[in-house]
């Protein structure tokens, strides 16, 4: 566990520049989006675990959890879950590319950000269309 704030001496050291110091940029927004979607996926997997447990326990238990995957709220949960999953997945792929030193120049990184942002939305729509076709 990194524990950099221990000790009174830590209070006197200069702070490293944080979000408020920088001009807002798309790459920064996407970095935040990666964290937010990651945390949201944790919560939605917890919610879906509840749904699966209810489905496994029988019809009466299922009645208590069916709101997670049906009705307006259920569709909203599943839609946001699928978008967050695909967006977060593409965010990981973006870092795989950047880890190799590619697309790190100003134009390249903007392109990567736009591709992952747009790609996440497009893939989510394609997933729902394909799922509707497959029944």
């Amino acid at each position: 566990m990194a524990n950099a704030d221990a000790g009174r001496q830590a209070d006197k050291r200069p702070l490293s520049p944080h979000l408020t110091i920088y001009k807002p940029m798309l790459t920064m927004a996407m970095s935040m989006a990666h964290r937010i979607t990651g945390a949201a996926l944790y919560l939605s997997v917890a919610l879906l675990a509840l749904y699966l447990l209810g489905l496994g326990l029988g019809p009466s238990a299922f009645a208590a959890v069916s709101w997670i995957a049906s009705g307006f709220f259920g569709y909203l949960v599943l839609f946001l879950f699928s978008w967050a999953a695909l967006h977060h997945l593409l965010g990981g792929l973006r870092h795989e590319v950047w880890d190799r030193g590619l697309y790190m120049d100003p134009k390249g990184r903007e392109l990567m950000v736009q591709a992952t942002l747009g790609g996440g939305i497009v893939l989510t729509l394609l997933l729902w269309i394909a799922s509707a076709i497959a029944g």
Binding site: G38, Y42, V45, A49, Y51, L53, S70, G74, S82
Partner: protein
């Protein structure tokens, strides 16, 4: 200059390097790669269950392939999520005692979620 206490938990904690970071990063990278196919499969089966009745959802997820894919997904996704949440907690929770408690709660929550998920799938698939 403060007297140097060695060890992570002593007063020297702020001055020593903590090499656990590279293990953490490697784990995130490896589990992320495994989650490319597993996450896509999970998203597909989760979306497939949208609006389904009890019988339909039960039959849909009780088949061998979706059941195995969803168990494999959560087995990798929860350790990945726990490690990610650990970073978030370390970044934003500054109170030492609260941080310790939050980190412990995170480890337990991840295990409980994974267990509930797997138990659900096993019950669904076994009842078929």
């Amino acid at each position: 200059m403060t007297k140097f206490d060695s060890g992570r938990l002593g007063r020297g904690a702020a001055y020593v390097s903590d090499p656990s970071g590279s293990r953490h990063a490697k784990f995130m990278q490896l589990s992320a790669r495994a989650l490319i196919p597993l996450g896509l499969l999970a998203a597909w089966f989760v979306v497939g269950v949208a609006g389904k009745s009890y019988e339909a959802a039960h039959a849909y997820l009780g088949r061998p392939f979706p059941a195995i894919a969803l168990i494999a997904f959560v087995a990798v996704a929860m350790p990945h999520a726990a490690a990610g949440a650990e970073t978030i907690i370390e970044d934003y929770v500054h109170d030492d005692a609260l941080k310790r408690r939050a980190l412990a709660a995170n480890r337990w929550a991840a295990k409980i979620v994974a267990l509930a998920w797997v138990a659900g799938i096993v019950l669904i698939a076994a009842a078929k």
